[in-house]
């Protein structure tokens, strides 16, 4: 069926992006895989309607963030179970040691945020969404996005003071093209 093909093509084309978001939200590979699978399970039966209505990206995002928050509600009394079988693989920046440790600090700090705080961080900082788009994805008000962002950032600062310099309030869509011209200097 054309719809089936369309669903598969869409998901294949978006798999890299969807996997990244799922991992950032869930924090480990098994949970990320579950999150993505549950999202796609919800998407699949609605696919033809979704695709007819326009670009499905916003809809998928909405499904995934809702799934992320509600999965936690369902499982909040259960102890999270993780396995050592799957561990992160490296493919990051070039300053390895620094990158690695900072990344780990942030991963550990993110793990201590609430689901919603974590989602706000991913929406605003990773996906670069505006407050309005983030509010739409989570189905909350812009005011909630503002307060959740602020709480999440202060919690990150508290949890990982070593990351002090990297956490700053986002300017609402600054987006100015900064010319990164190299100044040269020598000092004796």
């Amino acid at each position: 069926m054309a719809d089936d093909e369309g669903f598969r093509d869409y998901v294949h084309a978006r798999l890299g992006w969807l996997s990244r978001i799922a991992y950032l939200l869930a924090g480990d590979r098994h949970a990320a895989e579950d999150l993505l699978q549950n999202t796609l399970i919800r998407l699949s039966p609605r696919w033809s309607k979704v695709v007819r209505a326009g670009t499905p990206d916003a809809y998928v995002r909405k499904l995934m963030y809702h799934e992320h928050v509600s999965a936690w509600r369902r499982a909040r009394h259960l102890r999270a179970e993780y396995t050592t079988a799957e561990l992160p693989d490296g493919a990051a920046g070039s300053d390895m040691a620094a990158e690695t440790v900072r990344r780990l600090l942030l991963e550990q700090a993110l793990a201590k945020l609430t689901r919603k705080q974590r989602a706000v961080i991913v929406l605003r900082y990773f996906e670069d969404l505006s407050e309005a788009d983030a509010a739409d994805a989570l189905g909350v008000s812009i005011g909630t996005i503002k307060s959740q962002t602020s709480h999440a950032l202060s919690r990150l600062r508290e949890l990982a003071p070593e990351l002090h310099v990297l956490v700053r309030e986002p300017s609402e869509r600054g987006g100015t093209a900064v010319r990164q011209l190299g100044g040269n200097g020598v000092r004796a």
Partner: protein, 405 residues
């Protein structure tokens, strides 16, 4: 490389790709069938149109490209192009599962974590571009962090702790691989950041900076003055001198611990172009120079410079480039990267570093398939690093070596 977006991107690089499409599709259809049966076709329409406000997907939005302005003045080093080739895959090893590349100060010895054809974790070593060793390592190993000119390879790993509800926390582990033998470095929460020709490793045990005289030695703490905290990255010279940052308040400065135990700061400028210097980071120490990065911040604007400190005279030099510096070597070479390209810079020379021939990476900011340079040889003529290539969104993790002429 230290804002939140970059770090989230680095975390998401570890996501892998979960191809759950078929499973989801089948389960989704089952659900659809069940629901249709139950509600006789009255499937909730779910106000799809209202939800589908056209949102431009940020991943497809090209980021502003900083201007590349290589100086037109002549350079003493005549290089015009850096071309990449895949490092040859050792026998019995998968070509597409390598993670990161680290190199020794000469650039001749390279190492990367990979997988063998049976799926076991290995570390592969190349000498002058030829595979020279493959060793089995623990499946806890994440990546190689450092290589010595004598072939010692420092490995970093993670083990999941028993987390409390909803938390994922790791314990850091460090090993040294040499001559086919893997030795775990002693200490809880151990991280090996750099290694010298004598096999002495510098790193962290918990929040304390330490050295391990060799792979079997007990960690020895480096003295840190009260009120300051040590951090990474760190570097160690062949004479045992260590350079590492000490944080005080929100700013970091580099310090040099000499083999006699004394410590002194390496002075960075207070400001560059009127912007206060907030961070100084080290990459390597060799030939009397420490090389690394200086970060300035004025308001929200951060600028990154490649820098090197002369350990004898105390002089410091810095230079900018297109984007942010990645690796910087003590001889004054640096690779800068922005969303558009990688550029090798030395003095007035600026050479574009292209990725795997025949492959075009995505241009968006979060593209995972751009080349990464992590090693620069002392003469700038050899670079090493890695690149993810995507075929139908399925990534292959490859290791590269560039020749610059």
């Amino acid at each position: 490389m230290s804002d939140l977006k970059e770090l989230l991107l680095a975390i998401s690089d570890h996501a892998g790709v979960y191809d759950v499409t078929e499973r989801a599709y089948v389960l989704g259809r089952r659900r659809r069938t069940r629901r249709r049966a139950a509600y006789s076709g009255a499937t909730a329409v779910f106000a799809v149109t209202a939800l589908l406000a056209a949102v431009n997907l940020p991943l497809d939005r090209p980021a502003p490209e900083p201007a590349v302005t290589p100086s037109p003045s002549p350079s003493a080093v005549a290089l015009s192009a850096c071309t990449a080739a895949e490092l040859p895959t050792p026998a019995g090893v998968r070509p597409d599962e390598f993670r990161m590349v680290a190199g020794d100060p000469t650039g001749r010895i390279l190492a990367s974590r990979g997988k063998d054809v049976k799926g076991g974790d290995i570390v592969a070593v190349w000498t002058d571009g030829v595979p020279t060793a493959v060793g089995k390592v623990s499946d806890l190993v994440v990546e190689v962090t450092a290589v010595s000119s004598t072939g010692a390879v420092v490995l970093f790993g993670q083990k999941l702790k028993d987390g409390s509800r909803g938390q994922t926390q790791y314990t850091a582990l460090a090993w040294v691989y040499q001559d086919g033998k893997v030795t775990r470095l002693k200490g809880d929460e151990a991280f090996g950041a750099a290694v010298n020709a004598a096999g002495t490793v510098v790193g962290m045990v918990g929040k304390n900076p330490v050295t391990w005289r060799d792979a079997t030695a007990e960690p020895k703490r480096l003295p840190v003055p009260a009120g300051m905290t040590a951090g990474v990255p760190m570097a160690i010279a062949d004479d045992g001198s260590v350079v590492a940052p000490l944080y005080q308040g929100t700013n970091s400065r580099l310090h040099l611990w000499s083999p006699d135990g004394s410590r002194r700061p390496l002075t960075s400028p207070d400001t560059i172009d009127g912007a206060p210097v907030v961070e100084s980071m080290v990459g390597r120490v060799a030939d009397g120079w420490a090389a690394g990065t200086i970060v300035t911040q004025k308001g929200q604007a951060r600028q990154w410079y490649a820098a090197r400190w002369n350990l004898g005279t105390g002089a410091v030099e810095w230079f900018g480039g297109p984007g942010r510096p990645g690796p910087v070597n003590p001889q004054g070479w640096a690779v800068f990267g922005d969303t558009a390209a990688l550029t090798l810079v030395h003095g007035d020379t600026a050479v574009v570093v292209t990725g795997l021939p025949g492959y075009t990476p995505g241009t968006n900011r979060t593209a995972m398939d751009r080349p990464v340079v992590s090693v620069i040889s002392p003469d700038g003529r050899m670079l090493a690093g890695s690149q993810i290539t995507l075929a139908r969104q399925v990534p292959s993790h490859r290791v590269l070596r560039w020749t610059c002429r």
